[in-house]
Symmetry: C2
Subunit: 459 residues, 2 copies
């Protein structure tokens, strides 16, 4: 009896000791090299917001509206309900804007690498320690990235940060305009063009520059002493073409907008090597909301003027945005430095193929042609993967293409806004998968109706 | 024997079980309600950066330069070395800029409440869920704060966010200028005035406005159909006075810059109730680097034009800056909602008293008078605590006051930049304690020399 008692006791003791060992090792493992103190609450709040279940059709944010102590799901278009699980059957495919949410899943998959903990006293000062308004480590990271991707020459270039590329586009126009000249510089872009160029230039009503429309109209202009500033967009927004400057001459300056010059959207034939090149985090990592862009500038005087613009406009770029950009770009460069581009290209190529295939049988709609391009980054000729479909309505009765699509439950962006005919509409392919799926669904329905109509008319 | 064995075994078992219990409870306690997963690495990195020892004269940041795997200390002025422990004896007191680092210790003391964990996919979109570029919860927080502090009326006011107040000052000038008028609006400010008003207005060279100097020059101007825009700064930068508008009339608009209208710097006699009021996070929480400001606007058309300015200028304010502002303002409002103001006022009052006392015996230098003010927030008449000392050199030979101070190891900001005589210099009192201590040290030395000179001259 006593023996049994002893045996039982020993078994219990051994079990208990094993449990102790497990708990101690687990405790040490959980503790890692660092026992968290003041950051723990923030980390818990961050994980709690991320853990709110939104059915894969939305997400809850740390600074979302709070109901019952928990941030609410913010649902993708066409989904609603507290957990975004309810599909709205009469939903419209809204593919108007350029929200680059196609990259959101990449960051969700890389949660641990991309999270950051911001202390309450993080960089309160106006300036960094070297009295600059710009983070030196971020600038270094940007130079490394361009070298790794091979999409821009950074040697001998100055860098200016901007609140998105939006601010830098206008800063560049200011910097390239003649000082106190009697005639304002003429700002042009080859059509179709990104509407913000004109909207900005018109709105700020400077004495020094004026929007003058299509670059091609000035190609053979005899007035060769006019100061001209040409926006050159490559790949172009809306049509994805790798535009080159139309205008040349001693009084011509160009602003090269390379927002989309990343392997997600185009082959990279060679590093861009122009005098003024503008890039943005938005179309690289997908963080449009962070509002961070940069310009690579050859000429020191232009760099100085752009820096002055940013300084007098807003005293530099938010240090929080700079910290975020730094963290994200570090993740982009980790590992092989190819992951995000492989993800981005695969996603965009897949969408373009699906849309092209759905429209291939249509006589009513056509898409832009995008030539296959050798990509020095992927070291292969690669299939098209543009950010936008530049759709044309081919029929006379669909002359107002935007309206025709709207009737069919698709909101695009009117071609007229890009300076071209109303028979064109831009469809965004870079939004969420839900947005793209809805677009594809509506397009397929439209094309099917076309067949029906054709069938009826030949009966 | 068996009994002893059993007893021993039971004792061991009980001990082991107690240890089990302790470990489990400790494990649960450490884990809190949440077992951290993907946020742990970020939290550890954040704490590791904060734990770098910088002797109380500097701090290391998450995005600082890295040496041996650890971010380096960024030292306050006058301190150097890897841990900022070496005082530079020949150091100059640099009190030129308006870096509000006097509040840094407040945030270090409130580390757990003010930390935040940002997920890699946090708010990637251009817009919030309601299609606005502005966070609704942040806007609500701002309204609550003004009501709690009693420094501005927010009822019936629109709110526009800006990249610091800097951007909003210029946005307001645009919004208040007449559209397509033949004569540009005249932009004025009563002297001494914050130099950015002029620098911005001159730099952006709009057809619609022009800087025209001192508001007082237009007080009795017969040309009463001129459009006038007056910057009214209360408390004023540089001299801390609660300025009122100088100009009135049907063609006069005012932009009320209330950057310093917080209990740190002034008594709050009543809520500000003007048509266009501009505020900034910088002088409220001390986060100049976040670049976040807001304007309270009465007129819807003005609000719309300011919103358009921000939209075309930079597509709204960084979501990272908005998240940070939201988090910080939540901490400001926690508890009694008085902590930060008590801290801020105590610090600034202490500095002002020390400086005033050091200069009280001087015949060479004088400070501005600041009338005691009843403060509705603290519900008492409170001692002066201005952000800047507006120092006057009284002697003819010190007419270039900036130079006289520089010779004595003090860098201020020249009075001429504020539109007044060179016998004035602005000294910043809102920088780090090290900066203030250095200023006080140099001032005391100067005043002591004055006594010596006086003693010599009367010998």
């Amino acid at each position: 009896m006593a023996k049994i008692q002893i045996s039982l006791c020993v078994v219990c003791l051994v079990c208990s000791l094993i449990l102790n060992l497990l708990l101690v090792s687990n405790h040490m493992h959980v503790g890692g090299k660092w026992e968290l103190s003041w950051s723990r609450k923030a980390a818990e709040e961050g994980e709690a917001a991320a853990a709110v279940a939104c059915s894969g059709h939305g997400r809850a944010y740390l600074d979302g509206l709070v109901v019952d102590g928990s941030p609410v799901c913010e649902c993708n278009s066409c989904f609603e309900g507290p957990d975004c699980s309810q599909f709205s059957p009469d939903c419209i495919a809204n593919v108007d804007g350029g929200d680059p949410l196609f990259l959101e899943p990449f960051w969700m998959q890389n949660a641990a690498r991309s999270a950051m903990l911001v202390a309450g006293w993080h960089r309160m000062s106006y300036a960094f320690n070297n009295q600059s308004l710009m983070s030196q480590v971020l600038e270094n990271q940007i130079r490394k990235l361009h070298t790794a991707v091979g999409n821009a020459v950074t040697q001998g270039r100055f860098i200016v940060f901007g609140t998105g590329s939006t601010q830098l586009l206008n800063a560049a126009v200011y910097a390239l305009s003649p000082d106190n000249s009697s005639a304002p510089a003429k700002v042009v872009a080859s059509f179709p063009f990104y509407p913000v160029y004109q909207l900005q230039t018109d709105f700020f009503r400077s004495k020094d520059f004026q929007f003058q429309g299509d670059a091609y109209l000035w190609e053979n202009n005899s007035d060769s002493t006019s100061n001209l500033i040409e926006f050159v967009t490559a790949p172009n927004n809306p049509d994805g073409q790798l535009n080159k400057a139309v205008l040349h001459g001693p009084y011509v300056k160009a602003i090269h907008d390379h927002a989309y010059y990343w392997p997600h959207f185009t082959g990279i034939p060679a590093p861009a090597d122009e005098d003024v090149m503008v890039f943005t985090l938005s179309k690289l990592t997908g963080h449009a909301g962070t509002r961070f862009g940069w310009a690579l500038i050859k000429d020191e005087a232009v760099y100085q003027r752009m820096s002055t613009y940013v300084k007098l406009n807003c005293l530099g770029i938010s240090r929080d945005a700079q910290l975020r950009a730094y963290k994200l770009l570090k993740v982009v460069m980790e590992g092989s430095g190819r992951e995000i581009f492989e993800f981005g290209h695969a996603t965009m190529k897949n969408r373009w193929e699906k849309l092209s295939s759905a429209l291939s049988v249509s006589k009513r709609f056509s898409l832009q042609d995008i030539a296959p391009q050798y990509c020095t980054f992927f070291q292969t000729v690669r299939a098209a993967s543009p950010a936008y479909a530049w759709l044309r309505c081919e029929r006379e009765e669909d002359k107002d293409c935007y309206r025709a699509l709207k009737k069919a439950g698709i909101i695009g962006r009117e071609g007229t806004l890009f300076g071209t005919a109303s028979s064109y509409v831009r469809l965004s392919l870079i939004k969420t998968q839900d947005d793209f799926d809805m677009l594809l669904h509506q397009i397929k329905k439209l094309v099917a109706e076309e067949d029906d109509m054709h069938a009826r008319s030949t009966m």
